[in-house]
Symmetry: C2
Subunit: 374 residues, 2 copies
C-alpha cells in the first residue's frame, strides 16, 4: 500500500534550468580542421586508398613493409575510418536489432546483458527496441524495416504475435526468434524446452510431497504459446505421477508480472481448498504470489511452496529466495547472436534451424525452506 506523499512531506523542486554561461575563456575560433580521410592516409603513406583500406580492415595479403608505412601514417594523422561512409559503401550498418517486449523486465534485461557483449565482440552494435507486446508494433517491425533505423538483422522475442503471424515477415530480413518454436516456421528459433522445464518444476513440487499444485500464468489464446507449453508440462508432471489435474487450479493471467501473481494468489488463497504449492510461469509472478502469501500471515514454503521460472536476480535476493527454472541465458544469447551473424553473412540464404538450449532446476528457500549452513 503506497502512501501518496502529502503536501507537507513532499519536496518537489520546480523544474528549474539555471544556465551558468561558462564564459569559456579560450573562445578562440579553432581552424576547424577536417577529419583526415583514407585518401589523406594513402597520400602520406605513398600508397593507394585500396591498400589503406586493406590495412584498416585487417586483410592478410599486405606486405609487412607496406603495412608498417600505412600504420605510421594512420598514427600520424590520427585517422579513424568514417563509419557512415563505410556503411554506405559496404551496404551494411554493422548493427543488429534486438526486439523485446519490455526492457525493464529482469529476464529480458539480463538476456540483453548477455547479447550485447557477444554481438560487440563480433563487431556488431545492438539496437534495442521495446514493443510493450503491442501486436501492431511487432508486426510492423518484422514486416518492413522501419524508416530511420539501420540494422542488418533482428533477434526478436515476440509477445503480442503468434508464431503463425511471423510468416508475414519481410523475407529479406535475417531473423532469429527467441522462444521455442511451436508451429512451423522458416527462420531460426532459440530457446529452452519449455514443456520439459515446466514438467521438472512441477515434478520437484510433487517430490516434496505436494498434491494440490496450482499453476499461475496460463494464457489459453493464440498468442499464449509460451504459457501453454508450461501448462502442458504441468499436466505431464501430474500424469506421470498419476495425479489428477484440477483445472480450477490453473490460473490465467494476462501478463507475467508481480501484480498478476499477487492477484492470482489472492484468489487461490480465498478458496476453501487452497493449494499447498504453486508453479508460477515467471519469477515475477512467483514474487507477487509470495508477497500475497506472506501478507496473509502464511509462510513460504511451510504453508505454500512456490517455484518460478527465469532465474532473475530479484529471486536470488528475495526473502525467501525463489526456487526456479534457470534457462542458460548466456547460451541463448550466444546461440542467437552467432546464428544471426551467420545468417547475415550468408546473405540470409539459410534454412530455418531450431536451437534448444539447456536449463537447470534451482531449488531455493521458496520450496525447500531455509538451508542451515554447515
Amino acid at each position: 500500500m503506497q502512501v501518496v506523499c502529502s503536501a507537507a512531506i513532499v519536496s518537489a523542486n520546480i523544474f528549474s534550468t539555471t544556465s551558468r554561461d561558462d564564459p569559456s575563456p579560450a573562445d578562440t575560433e579553432v581552424p576547424e580542421l577536417p577529419e583526415p580521410t583514407l585518401k589523406d592516409v594513402a597520400a602520406l603513406a605513398g600508397v593507394s586508398p585500396r591498400t589503406v583500406s586493406n590495412v584498416v580492415n585487417g586483410y592478410v595479403h599486405v606486405a609487412a613493409a607496406t603495412r608498417a608505412k600505412v600504420e605510421a601514417a594512420i598514427q600520424e594523422l590520427d585517422y579513424r575510418p568514417n563509419i557512415l561512409a563505410r556503411n554506405l559503401a559496404s551496404g551494411r550498418s554493422g548493427q543488429i536489432a534486438v526486439v523485446i517486449p519490455y526492457l525493464d523486465t529482469p529476464y529480458f534485461s539480463e538476456l540483453l546483458q548477455a547479447i550485447i557483449p557477444r554481438a560487440r565482440h563480433r563487431g556488431f552494435n545492438v539496437l534495442i527496441d521495446q514493443t510493450d507486446g503491442d501486436p501492431a508494433h511487432e508486426a510492423e517491425l518484422i514486416r518492413r524495416r522501419p524508416r530511420g533505423f539501420a540494422y542488418d538483422g533482428m533477434i526478436f522475442s515476440p509477445l503480442g504475435l503468434a508464431q503463425a503471424d511471423l510468416s508475414q515477415r519481410d523475407p529479406d530480413l535475417p531473423l532469429v526468434v527467441l522462444g521455442e518454436r511451436s508451429s512451423d516456421g522458416e527462420f531460426d528459433h532459440v530457446g529452452i524446452d519449455d514443456v520439459a522445464a515446466a514438467r521438472d518444476a512441477v515434478d520437484h513440487l510433487i517430490s516434496l510431497g505436494h498434491r494440490r499444485i496450482a499453476a499461475i500464468g496460463d494464457q489459453p489464446y493464440r498468442t499464449g504459446e509460451a504459457a501453454q507449453r508450461r501448462t502442458a508440462g504441468y499436466r505431464q508432471a501430474h500424469e506421470h505421477a498419476g495425479l489428477p489435474v484440477d483445472d480450477s487450479l490453473v490460473i490465467v493471467t494476462p501478463r507475467f508480472n508481480r501484480v498478476d501473481g499477487a492477484e492470482a494468489m489472492g484468489h487461490l488463497l480465498d478458496r476453501e481448498d487452497p493449494p499447498t504449492a504453486v508453479f508460477a510461469y515467471s519469477d515475477l509472478v512467483a514474487l507477487g504470489a509470495i508477497r500475497t502469501i506472506l501478507q496473509r500471515g502464511l509462510r513460504v514454503p511451510e504453508d505454500v511452496a512456490v517455484i518460478g521460472y527465469d532465474d532473475i536476480e530479484d529471486g536470488r535476493y528475495n526473502t525467501p529466495t525463489v526456487s526456479t527454472i534457470a534457462p542458460d541465458k548466456a547460451g541463448i544469447a550466444a546461440a542467437a547472436v552467432d546464428r544471426l551473424l551467420e545468417r547475415i553473412d550468408s546473405g540470409n540464404d539459410l534454412p530455418g534451424k531450431e536451437i534448444v538450449c539447456p536449463y537447470r532446476l534451482v531449488p531455493r528457500e521458496s520450496t525447500v525452506g531455509p538451508v542451515t549452513p554447515d
Copy 2:
C-alpha cells in the same frame, strides 16, 4: 542461501541443435529486384531527385501538385530512403549513445525506458553502452568516438569517472552528463538536487521520532561524488534538527546494490547500539538492508525503519513496500534528450547548462508501516 542443484534434480539438456531443413517448397530464385532509389522515384514522377528529397524530408516549399505526384510515385514503387546513404550525405547517424554503468540496475533501466521513446519521437535512435563502471572504459568512450560506432551525441552517466575526469573528453562530442554537477564543467548536467533530497529523506525519519539513523552507501573517495552529496544531506538534516551525527553510523559501501545493503545492515545490527532507522543511498541497498533485518527476526519499520532512493519498481512491490526518494525520471530523460539534440543541432556550440529536475519523497511501509485501507 541457494541450494546448488544436485544431480538428481537437475535437468539439463545438452546444447542440441536440431536442424530441420525446411525444404522450402517454393525455392524459386526470385529475380532479386533492387530497392528503388530516390532517382527512380524522381524519374517516375517526372521531377528531379532534389524535389523528391524535399518531399521525403517534409520541406514546406513544394507545390501541392508536385508533392502529390512524388507521393504517388513513392507509393507505387514502395520507396524507402536508404538511411546509410542519407547518413553519409548528411554527416549524421541519427543515433545518440546512452552510456550507463549497468543495464540491469532498475534505476537505469527505468531511466532508459523514458529516454528511448523521447529520442525516438525526435527521430533519433538510442545506442546503449554499459560500462560496468570501469573507469578506463568510461574514459575511452568520451575521449574519442570508438571505431565502429556511429552516434551524434552522448548522454553519459559516469560511475568510475569523477567529474574532473570529464574534462579529458573529446571537445567535439555533444555531451550531456547525468547526475548533479559537483565541480565546474563545460558541458550540460541533468539531475536532481541530491543534497536536498537526502536531507528530506532523513528529515522524514527524524519526524517519525528516530534519533539514531544510519546511512548506508557513503563513498568518501573522488569518484563517490553522488554518494557524498547524499551524506551531506544526511548531515544537514541532523544539524537542522540539532542532532549529533554519529560518524560510525555512516557506512561506506563499494556499490549501491542489494548485497552491499545486506552486509552493511548486518554490521549495524551486530552493534550493541543498532540504529532505529536507516537511510539507504539506493532502493537496492534498502532492499538488501530490509532482507537482513527480516532475516534476523526483526520487523520493518517497527524495529528498524528504512528509506531508500530512486523509486524503483521492486520497492513498490516488496514486502514491506519501500519508502523512497523518487526522482522525476521522465523529466530527467526528457531534459537530457532535448538538451542533447539542441546541442547537436547547434553544432555543439552551446555553453554548459545545469538542469535540476524535481523529486518527491514517497513514504511507504518501510518507514510508516502498513496502511489500513479505508
